[in-house]
Amino acid sequence: MRSVLLLTIVTLLAGCSSMGVEPWERDLLAKDSMQLVPDYFDNFYDEHIYFSKEASSGGQGVGGGGCGCN
């Protein structure tokens, strides 16, 4: 199991190393609109609403607190 995990990580990193940009090619990636989460509070509220109404959670991060959502 460990060797499979190690192999997966090495493969992933090797695959990743062929992607990417040079430092001077990061103009678009640096824009606010290119953040993986486009808006902090849109995402915060969405997570809260769907956590209250659906049985799934997680994926994006960890922590953040619970609620006795009705």
């Binding site: 990417g20 956590f51 953040g64």
Partner: protein
């Protein structure tokens, strides 16, 4: 479970670039980023209404260190389903405190309208730069509401590789929650009783602990594309019932709410729900942002599975349509889940519950619609406009429809769809 990622470090692979983009802020370390927002959430049929103002403040402390703070107030009112299903006869229930009652007409889903609460939640993150390529983010969070308290800590480590084109993330979080239900903690599978009788309660509060783990990789693919893949594992131990939810006991022939033969005087044909006290949750999450000529596409997908039998798929698409100086962002979300193994429409006398003694033979049972097979679709539109170089105002509206599966449910007992409206106003400022 809310996201801890903070604006400005959400895409960790590009964090350093953001600081390159604001060299003055980095050098002086004195800029505050302030985001304020107000959410209005309204469900149809006089169900839950919420008003939720929030403020976020983040500040660079220099050398890639920063502090992020958040405060949210959540005011809730309205009615929520009590777990019993609609019937062809009127149904009378006791309020959680035991001192009142309410009657639901025939053909309607029973809603408890005694629900109102105010929640205050705060969180703080401290980002510590360990060296040029790695960071440690320490977080604390706490929230309090009338019947619920939550407190937690978290730690996340990130490291950049491949000329900062790849970022690996690993993190842990621990939460300790206490629930103190109105009227006390209901005894699992004990019947609800008529008002002003001794309640079937045991103790004033219960606790649960929530441990979460994350590993993830964020990768810059090319000049226009960034992707992220996370795996999260969560373990919840302790009290996970909804103390306000009941399950209807029915006669298997008539389908009407019915008491067992040995029921005590004042018992009602509804028992308090019971869920497992352990839950293991898993999520695989893919996220991406892709820049077109001017516009940006945000797409994410999550596959979730747990040991309660719930599997779900979440697809989320946002398209940022750039106008001259402002932008429009349509949003579509699709969510589909299976039912929990112990989700049940009701308990049938003679099979699920002993017709004489009232002993429930099932290990667990809940008719909480959130554990049912369901599909949620969301359509939204956002409009944002920069007011100056360092401030922006935006507003959005979203329509949410949740369709609960009624497969195998007799006519007249169906769970209705839930419609909700979201209106939100954001104002952000750097100064």
């Amino acid at each position: 479970m809310q996201l801890r990622n903070i604006k400005g470090r959400v895409s960790l692979a590009t964090c350093s670039l953001l600081q390159v983009a604001t060299p003055l802020a980095q050098a002086e370390g004195s800029d505050w980023d302030i985001d304020t927002a107000f959410l209005y959430y309204s469900e149809s049929d006089n169900r839950v209404q919420a008003a939720e103002p929030a403020i976020y403040a983040g500040r660079n402390l220099g050398e890639d260190n920063r502090i992020d703070l958040r405060l949210v107030v959540d005011v809730l009112t309205g009615a929520t389903p009590n777990g019993a299903h609609a019937s062809t006869v009127p149904q009378t229930f006791t309020t959680p405190s035991g001192s009142g009652s309410y009657t639901t007409p025939a053909g309607e889903t029973p809603l408890d309208d005694s629900f109102h609460d105010t929640r205050v939640a705060g969180a703080a993150d401290w980002t510590i730069s360990l060296d040029r390529l790695s960071k440690l983010i320490l977080g604390i969070n706490a929230s309090t509401e009338y019947d619920y308290m939550s407190a937690g800590i978290s730690a996340k480590y990130t490291r950049d590789f491949n000329n900062r084109n790849t970022t690996l993330t690993a993190g842990i979080a621990y939460n300790n929650d206490t629930i103190s239900p109105v009227g006390g903690v209901p005894i699992e599978f004990a019947p609800m009783v008529q008002q002003n009788l001794p309640l079937n309660r045991d103790g004033a509060s219960e606790t649960k602990t929530i441990s979460d783990f994350i590993i993830g990789v964020t990768q810059i693919v090319n000049r226009k594309t960034i992707i992220q893949l996370n795996y999260t594992f969560g373990l919840t131990d302790g009290y996970q019932n909804d103390p306000y939810k009941i399950v209807t006991v029915v006669d298997p022939v008539t389908g009407l709410p019915t008491l067992p033969a040995m029921a005590a005087t004042g018992d009602l044909p509804y028992v308090y729900e019971k869920r497992p006290d352990s839950r293991q949750r898993n999520a695989l999450f893919f996220n991406s942002a892709h820049h077109l000529t001017e516009d940006v596409i945000h797409f994410s997908y999550r596959y979730f599975w747990d040991d309660w039998g719930i599997n779900s798929h979440t697809l989320d698409l946002r398209y940022r349509y750039q106008l001259a100086s402002s932008y429009l962002m349509p949003h579509v979300r699709y969510y589909s889940q299976d039912a929990a193994d112990f989700y049940t429409h009701n308990l049938k006398l003679g099979t699920d519950i002993d017709a004489a003694t009232g002993t429930v033979s099932k290990q667990y049972a809940s008719n909480d619609y959130r554990l049912a097979k369901s599909v949620t679709t969301t359509l939204g539109l956002k409009y944002g406009i920069p007011l100056s170089n360092n401030s922006e105002i935006s507003m959005r509206g979203e329509l949410i429809q949740q369709a609960i599966s009624n497969d195998g449910v007799p006519a007249g007992e169906e769970t209705p769809d839930l419609d909700a409206l979201v209106l939100q106003l954001n104002y952000s400022l750097t100064w």
